[in-house]
C-alpha cells in the first residue's frame, strides 16, 4: 500500500469552506490536549471562551469592537499578500494610525463631533499609510526584503508610542494633573470624539466596524474591477511577466504597501475612537492585532469578505481572552489557539490543491504472491 499525492484538476466547491471550518475544530481539539497536559479542564475553558466571546449578553458588542482592528489589519495583510508582497508590518502601521487619530482628536477637540471623527479617520489612514510606505519604498528602490523591514518597523513603532507617553512631554501625554505627571498616561479625547455605535437587534455595531466592511468592499472592488487590481494579480503571479507587459511593478509595490498601511492605520484609529479614547501604548501593544490579522487573512484565504467573518470569530476569542485572563485562564492561550488554527489551515490548504490517494495492494500484481518472495522483496 502506498500514498500518492496528486494535483487536483478541479476543486469541489465545498472544500474551500470545509478546510477553514475543519481547521478551527482541529485547533480546538489540539489546544484541548495542551490544556489537559498542563492540568486544565478543556471543556470548561472552551465553554467559557465561547460564552464570553459570543453568547453572554453584550458579548457580541465587545467582540465587534475587538474584531474591527483585526478586520482592518487582516485586510492590510490580504491586500499585500495577494501581490506576493509580504507586509508583516500591520502591527506598527496600526500604532501609527492610533497616534495620528488620537493626535487629530486632541487637536480638534473643540470642533463638532462628526468633524473630529472624520479628521481622526483621515489622520489614522495617512499616518498608517506613511509608515507602511517605508518598507514598500525600500523594496521598490533597493529590493530590500520587506518581511524583515516591515517587522523591524513594528518594534520601532512600539518604542515610539512608548516614548510619546512614558518618556517625553509629548503632545499626546496628559500633564495636566500631578498624578498624570507621576503615572504617565495619554490625554483622553473629548466625548464628542467617541465614535458612534448603532443598535442592530440588540447588538451595538461600532462605527469602525462599518468602516471596516466598507474597506473590505473597496479592497474587493479594487482587486476585481480596476486596472490596479488586475496588475496586482499579474504581479503576484509573475513579476517578470508584469514587467515585460510594461506594468510599473515598483510603483505598484509602494502603492499596495501604502494602501495596506492605510487600512491598518484605520484599524488603529478605530481602536482609539471606538474603544480606548486615548493613546495607550501598553494596551495596544498587548492586543497584537497586527499579527493576529495575518492569521485572519490566511484563514480567509485572502478573500476580503471572508475576512469579515473570520475577524468576528477570532475577535470573539481575543475578546474573551482579555476578559478571562487570570490564574485559571493563563495568558497566551488565545495566541496558541490562533497559531494552531493557522497550522491546520495551512495543512488543509494542501487538501484543496492536491488529492491524496491510498493505493491498495496493486491490482496488476499476481494475486497469490508467495510469502517468501514478498519478504525477500521488502
Amino acid at each position: 500500500m502506498s500514498l500518492r499525492i496528486e494535483r487536483r484538476l478541479s476543486v469541489p466547491g465545498w472544500l474551500p469552506v470545509a478546510v477553514p471550518v475543519g481547521s478551527v475544530i482541529a485547533a480546538f481539539v489540539f489546544s484541548g490536549l495542551i490544556l489537559v497536559l498542563t492540568g486544565h479542564d478543556p471543556v470548561a475553558t472552551d465553554r467559557r471562551l465561547l460564552e464570553r466571546g459570543f453568547f453572554a449578553s453584550g458579548a457580541i458588542s465587545g467582540t465587534l469592537v475587538t474584531a474591527t482592528p483585526l478586520l482592518l489589519t487582516a485586510l492590510a495583510a490580504a491586500a499585500a499578500f495577494r501581490m506576493q508582497v509580504w507586509n508583516i508590518g500591520a502591527e506598527g502601521q496600526l500604532y501609527l494610525g492610533a497616534v495620528g487619530a488620537s493626535g487629530a482628536g486632541i487637536a480638534l477637540h473643540a470642533l463638532p463631533g462628526p468633524l473630529i471623527i472624520a479628521a481622526m479617520v483621515v489622520a489614522g489612514i495617512l499616518a498608517g499609510a506613511a509608515w507602511g510606505a517605508i518598507p514598500g519604498i525600500l523594496r521598490a528602490a533597493f529590493r530590500t526584503n520587506e518581511i524583515i523591514t516591515s517587522l523591524m518597523l513594528n518594534y520601532v513603532a512600539g518604542l515610539f508610542i512608548t516614548y510619546l507617553i512614558y518618556d517625553s512631554h509629548s503632545y499626546w501625554r496628559d500633564l495636566s494633573t500631578f498624578t498624570a505627571r507621576v503615572f504617565p498616561q495619554g490625554k483622553y479625547l473629548a466625548d464628542a470624539a467617541s465614535w458612534p455605535r448603532f443598535d442592530l437587534l440588540g447588538m451595538m455595531i461600532p462605527f469602525g466596524f462599518l468602516l471596516g466592511i466598507l474597506a473590505a468592499a473597496l479592497v474587493w472592488l479594487t482587486a476585481t474591477a480596476t486596472r490596479f487590481g488586475f496588475e496586482m494579480r499579474v504581479i503576484g503571479d509573475s513579476p517578470n511577466a508584469a514587467r515585460y507587459a510594461g506594468m510599473r511593478v515598483r510603483r505598484r509595490i509602494v502603492t499596495v504597501m501604502a494602501m495596506a498601511g492605510g487600512l491598518a492605520g484605520l484599524g488603529g484609529a478605530s481602536e482609539v475612537g471606538d474603544f480606548r479614547h486615548v493613546l495607550d501604548p501598553r494596551g495596544i501593544q498587548q492586543a497584537g492585532f497586527g499579527y493576529a490579522g495575518i492569521v485572519v487573512a490566511a484563514l480567509a484565504r485572502l478573500n476580503p469578505f471572508a475576512v469579515i467573518v473570520v475577524a468576528v470569530l477570532l475577535g470573539g476569542l481575543a475578546n474573551a481572552g482579555y476578559s478571562l485572563q487570570g490564574p485559571d485562564f493563563p495568558a497566551g492561550l488565545v495566541g496558541t489557539l490562533q497559531g494552531l488554527i493557522l497550522f491546520f489551515a495551512l495543512g488543509g490548504e494542501m487538501l484543496v490543491r492536491y488529492r491524496i490517494r491510498w493505493r491498495g495492494p496493486q491490482t496488476a500484481a499476481p494475486a497469490p504472491a508467495p510469502v517468501a518472495v514478498a519478504e525477500a522483496g521488502s
Binding site: 495542551i34 523591524m152 520601532v156 493576529a292 495568558a331 497566551g332 495566541g335 496558541t336
Partner: protein, 321 residues
C-alpha cells in the same frame, strides 16, 4: 587606568555576549535555508527555548552545571519539536513557507505557547536558581585586551565558536555538507543523485530549530536570567536578517552577530557614561540598524543574490520538477 576597563573593550566584550544568541539562531537558520527551507519561526522557537530552558533550570536539582546543561538541552529539544511543525507543513505538505513560519512565531511567540507555558509554570518574577556565568579560561581572563574578549565569557559563547568552526567545515569539507548545498541549490539534481531531499530538509530544519532554542535559552539563562513574556524582543527576526547580511556563510554570521550585539549593548553602556537620550532611542537602535544594513546589502551586492540558495522557499515536488 587598566586597558580592560576602557569603553572600547567593554563594548567589544558585551558585543560578543549580546551577539551570541543571535549567532546561534542565525547559524541554525542558515543551515535550514541552505537546505532550501526558509523558517520565519525563529522568534517563536527562541521563546520556546527561553521558557523551557528556564523552567528546567528551576526544576532540576543538583549542582548548577547539571541544571544548566540539562536546561540548554531541553531548550534545544523543545524548539526543535516546534520547528518540526514547520518542517512537516512545508516539506511534506508543501505549504507556503512564509505563512507557515509566521504561524510558528504566532503559535509559539510572545502571546502564544511560550507565554502560556510561562503562565502555567508560574515562571515570571522568580530569579533563576542558576545562571550561565563567565568562565575564566586558562586563567587568562585578566590578560590585557584579549582577556575579557576571548577568555572571560560563558560556556555557550565558547560553544558558539566551536559551532561556527564545525559548520564551516561541514559545509565546505564534508560530503553531507556538500549534499546539503546541492539540495538547497538544485533539489532535482540532488534527487537524481540519490540524495534524499526531504531527509536533508527535515534534518536541517530540526537542527536549525534546536540552535534557535539554545539562542533563546541564552536569554533566560544569561542575559536576563528569568522569564518575561516576549523576552527575546525581536532577536529571532534580527537573526533571520543576519543570514542575509552574512550571505549564508557562518563565518560572516559571526561578525554580523557581534555587530548587532554591539548595537544591543551600546544603550546600556552609553547610559552608564551619562549620555542622556530617551531609552527608546537606544532600544530601537538594533531594529533601525537591521534595516540600514539590509538596505546597504541589498543595494551593493544583493543584486547578484550572492550566496542565496537557489531553491530557497520553493517546495520540491518530484513529479513536477
Amino acid at each position: 587606568m587598566n586597558v580592560n576597563g576602557t569603553v572600547l573593550i567593554v563594548v567589544l566584550a558585551s558585543a560578543i555576549f549580546y551577539g551570541t544568541p543571535l549567532l546561534f539562531a542565525a547559524v541554525g537558520e542558515l543551515l535550514a535555508e541552505r537546505s532550501g527551507v526558509l523558517n520565519l519561526g525563529v522568534e517563536g522557537m527562541m521563546l520556546i527555548g527561553a521558557v523551557t530552558g528556564f523552567w528546567t533550570v528551576q526544576h532540576v536539582g543538583g549542582p548548577g552545571w547539571v541544571g544548566l546543561t540539562t536546561a540548554v538541552c531541553v531548550a534545544a529539544l523543545a524548539a526543535s519539536a516546534a520547528s518540526s511543525i514547520h518542517a512537516i507543513l512545508v516539506i511534506s505538505l508543501r505549504a507556503n513557507q512564509i505563512v507557515s513560519g509566521l504561524a510558528l512565531t504566532i503559535f509559539a511567540g510572545a502571546s502564544g505557547l511560550s507565554s502560556y507555558l510561562g503562565a502555567v509554570g508560574r515562571l515570571g518574577g522568580h530569579p533563576a536558581l542558576h545562571e550561565l556565568k563567565a568562565i575564566d579560561l586558562f586563567g587568562l581572563g585578566d590578560a590585557p585586551v584579549v582577556g575579557p574578549l576571548l577568555f572571560h565569557q560563558n560556556a555557550l559563547v565558547y560553544v558558539s565558536w566551536a559551532l561556527v568552526a564545525v559548520t564551516v567545515f561541514y559545509l565546505t569539507r564534508t560530503r553531507p555538507g556538500l549534499h546539503l548545498r546541492a539540495v538547497g541549490e538544485s533539489p532535482a539534481t540532488a534527487d537524481a543523485m540519490g540524495i534524499s531531499v526531504a531527509g536533508y530538509r527535515y534534518a536541517h530544519t530540526l537542527i536549525g530549530g534546536a540552535l534557535a532554542g539554545v539562542g533563546g535559552a541564552f536569554f533566560s539563562l544569561a542575559i536576563t536570567p528569568g522569564w518575561l513574556d516576549g523576552m527575546t524582543s525581536g532577536a529571532g527576526w534580527i537573526a533571520i536578517a543576519l543570514v542575509i547580511f552574512a550571505f549564508w556563510r557562518p563565518e560572516l554570521a559571526l561578525g554580523g552577530a557581534y555587530l548587532f550585539g554591539a548595537f544591543s549593548s551600546l544603550g546600556f553602556i552609553l547610559q552608564a557614561h551619562q549620555v542622556h537620550l530617551p531609552p527608546e532611542v537606544f532600544a530601537s537602535l538594533p531594529y533601525l540598524m537591521t534595516i540600514v544594513v539590509l538596505v546597504f546589502v541589498s543595494t551593493s551586492w544583493g543584486k547578484r543574490r550572492l550566496g542565496a540558495p537557489a531553491a530557497l522557499g520553493v517546495p520540491y515536488i518530484r513529479e513536477e520538477r
